[in-house]
Amino acid sequence: MSDSGYRQIFNDGMWNNNVAFVQILGMCPLLAVSTTVVNGLGMGLATMATLVASNGLVSMIRQIVRPEIRIPVFVVIIASVVTVIELVMNAYFHQLYKILGIFIPLIVTNCSILGRAEAFASKNSIGRSLADGLFMGLGFTVALVLLGGLREVAGHGTLFTQIYLMFGHGADWLTTQVIPHYQGFLLAALPPGAFLGLGLLIALKNVIDQRLAERAAAHETTPPAAQPAA
């Protein structure tokens, strides 16, 4: 596979085809756990691990699965992967598991995982599928952290609360009270805040895309116009 193929996968996952901002997939976990940065980060990383594993497995078996049973087979694979990840985390990262407890089974309900299995991994090589899982997962993680940060600041006036649960007490300095004596803004902390926040972030992404497109268009037209003048 060419180098540019992987760059394309990276761009798609992080920006052009971002799970949360463009595909609008995985809304259930996205809206449910994006209340703080730490929750968002934990959920994002666990989802990324699932995406990488399920993409890899689906790509591995893509030659032997018949089209008519592929969806049930993917579902079996994803459910198994999530359960295994849940058990392994419970055994070896018990503290982290305690925090993410309820989020982890929720990963099964994330349709982006089945979506990537069907749309990408079932048609691509193992290497490309793993990269796709990694960058789709990373893009989802970034979206969750951004939305979590937005809701945490607006809802509680803080940022990075409980960061020690993931990185130990060495990371405590990250926890900040952004707005002192903040009364809390209930709407941001509740599920409607997740919808509004996601809408704002998608709007922001569209504005950036538009600016980029305008600049690109300007670049294409100016040099030929400048050349005759020179």
Binding site: T35, T36, N39, T83, V84, A91, G101, I102, L190
Partner: protein, 226 residues
């Protein structure tokens, strides 16, 4: 005929994947279950000692347990484990495993430590499925709320005070979440009522046999409650 054959092949293939998937999960389960149980037990012991400091008792609390059943006061039709703390053979405190059945996301499993004189030494949430960022502030890792029980008893704040502020009581609710703290307050109050009625028999009862009893049942119950 061709169709039938096609279908059978698909069915066998699908069945094979189901078997492989189940085998994978079963293997992981059996490979991790001892470690998970050990984790649960270690956390339980650590929690017991944050409620009743080691300096205040000298017995092995994890072994000195009794099983009591009280759906009305302890929130579960199943026998619940009570860990007993003693010093020089005298009763110091009882740590109840209690269930708050009416949490927002299902039952909330609690440890309620009651001193011999009926005051609360501390309360901790062992497992819950409350909404992350809202109701999960009942957990000691998420907020200081659970410490507000320490030192309280049936007479302090009295029957009316044993409710969240919205219901006219003494305990705070959270922004956007009243149901979780309400459930915990009620469960703690019920535990105190149970303790008042059964104090002497609780400390008098013979310990439940080591391995089959208290500690073990509790540890194996843990994961299924997650």
């Amino acid at each position: 005929m061709a169709l039938m054959k096609n279908m059978s092949v698909s069915a066998v293939l699908l069945g094979l994947f189901a078997i492989v998937g189940t085998a994978l999960v079963a293997y992981t389960y059996s490979a991790t279950k001892d470690r998970i149980a050990a984790n649960e037990r270690a956390i339980l012991l650590r929690t017991l000692h944050t409620l009743i400091p080691a300096s205040e008792q000298d017995n092995d609390m994890a072994q000195d347990t009794v099983q009591v059943t009280s759906p009305q006061y302890l929130g579960s039709p199943k026998p619940m484990t009570v860990y007993r703390a003693r010093k020089h053979g005298k009763p110091v405190a009882a740590v109840f495993t209690a269930i708050a059945p009416n949490g927002y996301g299902g039952p909330i499993k609690l440890l309620v430590a009651v001193r011999y004189d009926g005051t609360i030494a501390g309360v901790r949430v062992i497992s819950d499925q409350e909404t992350p960022g809202l109701g999960d502030a009942i957990e000691s890792e998420k907020s200081d709320w659970i410490y507000s029980f320490t030192g309280k008893s049936l007479d302090n704040p009295g029957k009316k005070g044993w409710a969240v502020k919205r219901d006219g009581g003494q305990f705070d609710q959270f922004t956007g979440a009243t149901i979780s703290p309400r459930a915990v307050v009620k469960a703690v109050h019920n535990t105190l009522l149970y303790f008042k009625q059964h104090r002497e028999e609780l400390f008098g009862a013979k310990p439940t046999s080591d391995k089959t009893g208290g500690e073990h049942t509790n540890a194996s119950e843990g994961p299924s409650d997650e």
